[in-house]
Symmetry: C2
Subunit: 232 residues, 2 copies
């Protein structure tokens, strides 16, 4: 039996623009008395990546914040009162076009990385260079969902792992062909990692150990094409 | 550091109506050489619960299958060609009103349990009686999402664990109050457990160990009220 393990990475402090995030992650794991292994999946909340990349905007007042949301959005999907559901440049559809005033000092807001798949790739290469092991990186954000209450973490940047595992063409135990069984594994991993992170705690990184997924994908693979989407 | 563990429960065979599912789970874990512990979360795909409860319908042809979907739906949310997104009696919104022709013999379809929260409660009580430990149970199904490709497992039945952890009123590391931070923890646990289950494999049960969540909720807590929902 393979047991999947999800380990929080403790002791990563406040991140500032230009910090060596890869080095801080590797050092924090080392200080905690363990080491990364081949096939580990490093899950990182975008908040620390955005800070490291300087994706921070000043929002001195509500009007500036509102204008920033409109600026980050390429399309408004729904609007009700102060609630804006919008599509980002990356294609993600989420509240406030992912402009986030939590987890930063008052008067500031975090934006998503410009290219989160590229951020994941860069972080992966730096961690691999520092450790000599072969890993994957998933960058996450916290999204709401239509129809279901509560937020869940999802993947917005991916490197070194497939985003979707396509089981079409395989059969179940009854010999039925599984027609539409594309599993969004990186979203499931993002959700799993959030269980050890917590929103109010300062644990922005977790390591998922025990998966063995061949292939490589991007988070943008998860964006449903407009012509397949019934809820635009 | 608390490591979260996700263990597949191997060796549970085909389930038939009236089977002692709780006993089969406990025996399979025992045969695999480990035992349940206090606070373990037992995650069970609804497919085995539905089979155990006899929630199986005959669908000899496509027309019968289509009629069954309409019958299980209380409201059609979207329809395009053969794709029907519908609300079930429980309030869940998903493809085909959760009528599922995979994982059963040809000519049959699985329906959701009549009351999955109650099914979870019953299974929990039976497992607790058999083992003497205090556990939680989550029953899952596999849902698509608007905007994002790929399926993820979500909770449709819950017992012994809060469905949503409400962090409103707590503050982040910067002293900002977290206004809208209700985390759908049981959906995150369902997604995490799916990582060791796999759709094409016969592993319908997993155990999540290392969580310590106080309280109790129901899966129906996750149903977003109509007046809060922008995507009905």
């Amino acid at each position: 039996m393979t047991i999947l393990e999800i380990r929080p990475v403790m002791g990563i402090g406040e991140i500032n623009p230009g910090d060596d995030l890869a080095g801080l992650i590797v050092d924090a794991i080392s200080a905690d008395g363990w080491t990364l292994e081949d096939k580990d999946v490093i899950v990182v909340t975008h908040k620390v990546v955005s800070k490291q990349e300087g994706r921070i905007a000043e929002v001195p007042d509500e009007a500036t914040y509102r204008a920033l949301i409109e600026d980050e959005a390429v399309r408004i999907v729904r609007r009700r009162g102060d609630l804006v559901i919008a599509q980002t440049r990356h294609g993600f559809i989420c509240a406030n076009a992912a402009v986030d005033r939590s987890n930063v000092a008052e008067g500031l807001a975090l934006l998503l990385p410009v290219d989160p798949d590229r951020s994941a790739h860069r972080l992966r290469r730096l961690i691999e260079r520092a450790t000599g092991v072969s890993i994957a990186v998933i960058i996450t954000d916290t999204f709401g969902r239509p129809w279901r209450r509560g937020l869940v973490d999802v993947a917005i940047g991916v490197s070194g792992i497939p985003s979707i595992v396509d089981l079409r063409g395989t059969t179940d135990a009854h010999g039925n062909e599984l027609n539409v069984t594309e599993v969004a594994v990186v979203d499931e991993i993002a959700a799993a990692a959030d269980l050890v992170m917590g929103k109010a705690t300062q644990i922005p990184v977790a390591v998922v150990r025990g998966l063995d997924l061949e292939g490589a994908g991007r988070a943008t693979d998860l964006v449903r094409p407009a012509d397949e989407d019934l809820f635009r």
